[in-house]
Symmetry: C2
Subunit: 232 residues, 2 copies
């Protein structure tokens, strides 16, 4: 099966959660906009293709399917590539965790855009400082302690007792938060999450991906942005 991934060029953003899955399993995929440009996505967003119309990138095509929303894409890929355990209970659990990661990612976005996605960061900097303070002091600990406890409950190595797409997303969250909020993250203990992050980075396909040109560096156009004034 050959996949086509569609996401904005020049940033990791939400597309990165999908890329990490595709790379981890060595899937045959094309990162289409990086070859053809962002305009290639417009006909999909304008409903000029068969199938579902995405509200926004990322979206993945697989044969005639058009699949949008990160957690939906991962839920689709998981069983096809051994990235989620067998059984209804485990799959519902995996998806629940992924949706909680999506909630966290949306909150990360709003640390630098608390007023309006359409405005520049510079035009909402005062509000961003307030929101980031709350995010650092309350939201990072609440979300990450929850995932730390989930790993503990899963036996100490994985949230779901074995490797899954949730590991890859938690790797991305931990890496992104460490880039965006290095001072705040240095205060967090999280031994199980940090160990998971390291083990994911060491997976052969992920390690090769991270040192390739396919891995776009973190930068201040993505979801995770490093603005020192937001890190306290």
């Amino acid at each position: 099966m050959s996949y086509k991934l569609y996401y904005w060029t020049g940033l990791q953003g939400r597309g990165e959660f999908v890329r990490l899955c595709l790379e981890d399993v060595g899937a045959d995929y094309t990162d289409v906009a990086r070859i053809e440009g962002d305009d290639v996505m417009t006909p999909f967003l304008d409903g000029e293709h068969q199938g579902a119309v995405p509200y926004a990138p990322p979206f993945l095509t697989s044969g005639r399917l058009v699949i949008a929303q990160v957690a939906n894409i991962l839920q689709y890929l998981g069983p096809r590539h051994g990235l989620v355990p067998e059984g209804e209970a485990k799959r519902l659990h995996a998806h629940q965790l992924e949706l909680t990661i999506s909630d966290l990612v949306a909150e990360v976005h709003d640390t630098h855009h608390p007023v309006a996605s359409e405005l520049y960061y510079e035009d909402q900097k005062a509000e961003a400082k307030k929101r980031s303070k709350d995010f650092r002091e309350n939201r990072i600990p609440k979300f990450l302690d929850y995932f730390e406890k989930t790993i503990e409950r899963g036996g100490g190595r994985f949230p779901l007792r074995e490797h899954s797409y949730v590991d890859l997303s938690l790797f991305q969250v931990m890496s992104g938060l460490a880039y965006a909020f290095p001072k705040a993250m240095a205060k967090q203990k999280l031994p199980l999450l940090r160990d998971l992050q390291k083990r994911v980075a060491d997976r052969p396909n992920i390690s090769a991906y991270l040192s390739s040109e396919r891995r776009i560096p973190f930068n201040t156009t993505g979801i995770f942005r490093h603005y020192p004034e937001l890190d306290g």
Copy 2:
């Protein structure tokens, strides 16, 4: 199958999207916290039960399963109660639409809490006014035009050509936005969404539910809140 729904008492909130499904299909369910109080949820959130630990309410138990996250719950209920069409493509599409509704609902929450969930509305009113202005002018039209076009593409009556849980959630979104932002919503045309909203309200089980005491009125403790100063 008898379900137990767990959600904060006194507000519709995110729990309402689950209630509408359970009511529409006439499922046997208990709205547990409304009988036993909010503390009944604590052991689940503290991980003292078997199964998945929710990050937050709502969650549903079905036999030994503990299912959290609204879209995950609806995806579980859909095939069991004829609330989603058959086939992988349709189910991925339904879930994608539901996840986009979840994104919209999170943005509605942030119109009154743009700085911190933990702070009172009164302590973030200035920021709420700014965020609500953008929400009214940019986000409401963008999201609702997308759903209007989805119904149009689906033949004019349903986003998925037949009744599904997405209809119920769009009913709730349209009702909630009309309560919270009556002036802004009066400016929107959206004939297909308004027709869908009316047809959902007229479904026998939904109609009976809406006029029962089980339907908590909209109020300023839920997701959709009417603060006149945020409606322009």
